[in-house]
């Protein structure tokens, strides 16, 4: 890099990790950065790269530096490396080292385990941007387009965060892993992303909202438990990432909510009382509630698979070594070692679905999945309140955890959304009632018409109740570049 094109990383990358005085990491990031920019530029259509998007940028970790809203072209977005402030005297919150001072460096014996966790987390971040790459073309409004890009740039920043940890703490191996994060690509034949759910394209905006509601929530739960890590830099990174993840939860919950809202409004206006009168409802260009239930079934169950096997020695090791805690570990009142505790885990035997107590240490994944289900049910309850308020007789439900699973105790079993074990024939004959069909997908796809006029929304979705950064309804969230 010649002198005058050299990037001043300290001023360009907002960071609170003393990047300018850490020559080794700085050099590593300088080498990695062009690949990242190339990845971003190859991914996002040029039209959007040139557009001015009203984005929130974190330039510091304290609340005052937190949300700077301004128009920015995405390639000029300031991807920072930000760790939540170090807590003085923090101790390892769980496992056999509980109460010992938190590690500021990687403990040698857990090096491989830690690196794997960082890499898996890091791999999901760019993957979701890749999955969502085509959505910009069909955004139902400039408001939604902005939200998509906000999610995208923040996932990009989360990649940065993980890459920083790899460069800073894992030497040559870490650098190689960091490069691989850019080499793998969602849906690729030769180098796919590590987790199955991240290799599926996000085909439409309803899928995007369901994804941010259900799948990003898995990310949130994983981040919550990594925020409990005894490895302090990982904990601090994840704590800050959680603040951004909250926005993704918001996009999902309100996106699905606004879709439901519009359907309810249209049903009431047209005097349609039967929510199952799908044909009639669809004539009005909105998405009927039964189809929304099917989408919910699909995304919830795909996300459940991300929690892995219910009983897992890897998860036990991660907890016992103090690398990964439980959700809200600091609020749980027990010995934080779990040497004798048990936890009920669902099993599938010839007699059906049963709960069985197993050592709690091995049930970490199951426990986190249960916490996830509770967290995910909150928003479903709020959607149901909207439906109730509109006087429509319909209730959205989370399906049974055994339904439509590919990983864990229920993988491949013919279990219906109510949790009953069916014969394979019976299951196969009804599955089209539970999961979206090709025809459902085609219908949703037919609604995906871009709306680019400020303050206007596509037929199938209601405007938000509150603008981003309190902007008025007709605010131009994206100033589209017209080539």
């Amino acid at each position: 890099m010649s002198g005058n094109t050299e990037i001043s990383y300290d001023s360009m990358i907002p960071n609170n990790v003393g990047l300018s005085s850490d020559k080794r990491v700085l050099k590593a990031l300088e080498k990695w950065h062009p690949g990242y920019i190339k990845w971003w530029n190859d991914l996002i259509p040029k039209k959007f790269q040139e557009s001015r998007v009203y984005l929130r940028t974190a330039v510091g970790v304290d609340p005052k530096g937190w949300a700077k809203f301004d128009y920015v072209k995405m390639p000029e977005y300031r991807w920072g490396i930000l760790l939540a402030p170090q807590v003085e005297g923090r101790t390892i919150p769980c496992g056999e080292h509980v109460g010992e001072p938190a590690w500021q460096e990687v403990p040698g014996e857990y090096r491989a385990l830690l690196r794997r966790l960082v890499v898996i987390q890091g791999d999901t971040e760019p993957a979701s941007v890749e999955q969502q790459r085509f959505l910009g073309q069909t955004a139902p409004s400039l408001y939604d387009l902005r939200n998509l890009f906000q999610v995208n740039v923040e996932e990009g920043r989360h990649l940065w965060a993980m890459v920083y940890l790899l460069h800073k703490y894992f030497g040559a191996d870490g650098r190689e892993e960091a490069n691989d994060l850019l080499r793998r690509s969602s849906g690729s034949e030769e180098a796919p992303r590590m987790l199955g759910a991240f290799n599926e394209e996000t085909p439409d905006w309803l899928s995007f909202f369901m994804f941010t509601y259900f799948t990003d929530r898995d990310g949130k739960m994983q981040l919550e438990s990594l925020a409990q890590s005894g490895f302090d830099p990982l904990s601090r990174t994840c704590r800050f990432m959680l603040t951004e993840e909250a926005h993704h939860m918001f996009v999902g919950e309100t996106g699905v909510g606004r879709t439901i809202q519009k359907t309810l409004e249209v049903m009431n206006e047209a005097g349609i009382t039967d929510p199952f009168d799908i044909q009639k409802i669809r004539e009005h260009g909105v998405i009927d509630l039964p189809t929304l239930q099917k989408k919910l079934n699909l995304h919830y169950t795909l996300s459940l698979d991300l929690f892995g096997q219910e009983v897992s020695t890897n998860a036990a090791n991660a907890f016992n070594s103090g690398i990964k805690g439980r959700y809200m570990e600091h609020r749980i009142d027990d010995d934080h070692r779990l040497s004798d505790a048990t936890y009920p885990v669902s099993r599938f035997t010839g007699d059906g679905i049963q709960l069985e107590d197993v050592p709690a240490l091995t049930a970490m994944n199951m426990r986190l999945r249960d916490d996830y289900t509770k967290d995910a049910s909150g928003g479903v309850g709020r959607w149901n309140k909207m439906i109730e308020k509109a006087g429509v007789s319909f209730t959205l439900k989370l399906p049974h955890v055994g339904f439509n699973r590919e990983i864990g105790a229920f993988a491949g079993q013919p279990i219906c959304p109510e949790g009953n074990v069916l014969s394979q024939e019976s299951y196969d004959s009804q599955v089209a009632d539970w999961l979206p069909s090709t025809a459902d997908g085609d219908y949703i796809q037919s609604l995906m018409v871009p709306v680019t006029e400020a303050g206007k929304y596509a037929s199938w979705i209601a405007p938000p109740k509150v603008g981003i950064d309190n902007k008025p309804g007709d605010f131009e969230y994206v100033q589209l570049h017209m080539a």
Partner: protein, 413 residues
């Protein structure tokens, strides 16, 4: 009778229960049950740390109440209660003010600039020159208002008091730097603070507060220090101005506010700013300029300042202003009493810059700000009208249009 207080609430219909605010609050004033996330009015100190981290905007809700809602009441809510009609003692406008507090958004017709009746009256008067309802720029940040009132003022310590005008000038204008210490005092450029001079009037009543524009940007007179600056001219027999201009380093002064929710700058570095001022009317423009300088150091500026004074010696910030690069701010200083030169006023300079001014007012992303002595209004308006008419534009229509879209701002006294 109890003073109405401002209460911080969370909208349960918008909140997604992510608990980010709860994890951010430095004093654990936010809590939740299975139903709602709520703010404890007895703990909240308006530090605003929770506002930017909320992904939904549900956190930015305020009600003016005689008795704050309890935690139990808030836990039960399915939706926010309406703002109650409160009658605040004093002038008629107070009632409207309290009712409007339910929707403190900067843009709608119900924009509320302050809660205290006499401050509302002062601001309404100051903004009346725009000829209609003042609106904030569409991209302006959301201002915090009335965080401190006369029942609960903020103590600020004087860090510095510097004379801005030459010793030879008969005009004594001061740059006062105030440190807020650990008190949260979030401000936006263009906002004002209230200062009440100590003592009582002839009738034994406390004096009325005076409003002063803040002349420092939102991140502090010095970046990331919790301090603000004011620009204050010593008026002959001026009770408050003499009090403030005589303050010494280390003295404590009580502030109310911040106030003002319309005379703000756009959060858009591409927006053009045309600023016209006289005397201490330069205070908000100093803040605007510093904000641009800090937020877009390499930016093209897009700012033009027409600044009038009697002489260079009596023009506040004459020295520092000359150091601001022209690429950031095109500066046009005019003097009405410069020895041996014809008298020139801001309106003369506006006409002189006709071409440039026309380019600005023709730009849909241009904001005009006029600040200073009321006497300048008429001449300035005429000058704009003349330029507009010459190119076939109807200035009054254009002005109304700009004002309604938050792009024409007047603050005069």
């Amino acid at each position: 009778m109890t003073e109405p207080v401002k209460q911080h609430l969370i909208d349960p219909e918008i909140c997604i229960r992510c608990h980010t605010c709860e994890n951010t609050c430095p004093i654990e004033a936010i809590t939740h049950d299975d139903n709602n996330v709520v703010v404890d009015a007895s703990k909240c100190n308006f530090c605003m740390d929770c506002i930017p981290v909320c992904p939904t905007g549900s956190i930015d809700e305020w009600r003016v109440v005689n008795t704050p809602y309890t935690l139990e009441q808030q836990f039960d809510w399915m939706e926010l209660p309406e703002q109650q009609d409160l009658t605040v003692s004093g002038s008629e406008s107070a009632d409207a003010g309290a009712t409007q507090a339910a929707h403190p958004e900067a843009t709608g017709p119900e924009v509320i600039e302050a809660l205290d009746d006499n401050i509302i009256a002062l601001l309404n008067e100051a903004h009346s020159g725009a000829g209609g309802k003042a609106r904030a720029p569409a991209t302006a940040g959301k201002p915090g208002i009335n965080l401190y009132n006369k029942g609960r003022p903020a103590d600020a310590v004087v860090q510095g008091n510097f004379r801005l005008t030459s010793q030879t000038s008969d005009s004594d204008v001061r740059h006062i730097i105030l440190d807020l210490g650990a008190l949260p005092f979030p401000v936006l450029e263009g906002q004002s603070v209230g200062i009440t001079p100590p003592g009582v009037d002839d009738n034994g009543k406390p004096h009325l507060p005076r409003l002063y524009s803040i002349s420092s940007p939102r991140d502090g007179e010095r970046p990331n220090y919790n301090n603000i600056s004011l620009t204050i001219k010593r008026e002959e027999k001026g009770l408050c101005s003499n009090y403030v201009c005589d303050l010494k380093q280390g003295d404590t002064v009580q502030l109310t506010g911040p106030f003002g929710a319309t005379f703000l700058m756009p959060n858009d570095n591409d927006a053009k700013l045309l600023m016209v001022c006289t005397g201490t009317g330069s205070a908000p423009f100093r803040a605007f300029t510093m904000r641009r300088q800090r937020s877009a150091p390499a930016g093209s500026g897009n700012m033009m300042l027409i600044f009038g004074a009697r002489t260079p010696e009596s023009l506040p910030y004459f020295g520092p202003l000359k150091k601001v690069p022209d690429s950031l701010l095109a500066k046009h200083l005019v003097f009405s009493r410069e020895e041996g030169k014809p008298r020139r006023y801001v309106q003369d300079e506006i006409l002189h810059q006709q071409e440039k001014v026309l380019e600005f007012i023709n730009d849909g992303n241009c904001h005009i700000y006029i600040c200073g002595l009321r006497a300048m209004e008429e001449g300035v308006n005429k000058a704009f009208a003349e330029i507009a008419t010459a190119s076939g534009l109807n200035w009054e229509d254009l002005k109304r249009q700009m004002r309604d879209s938050g792009r024409y701002h007047v603050e005069t006294y």
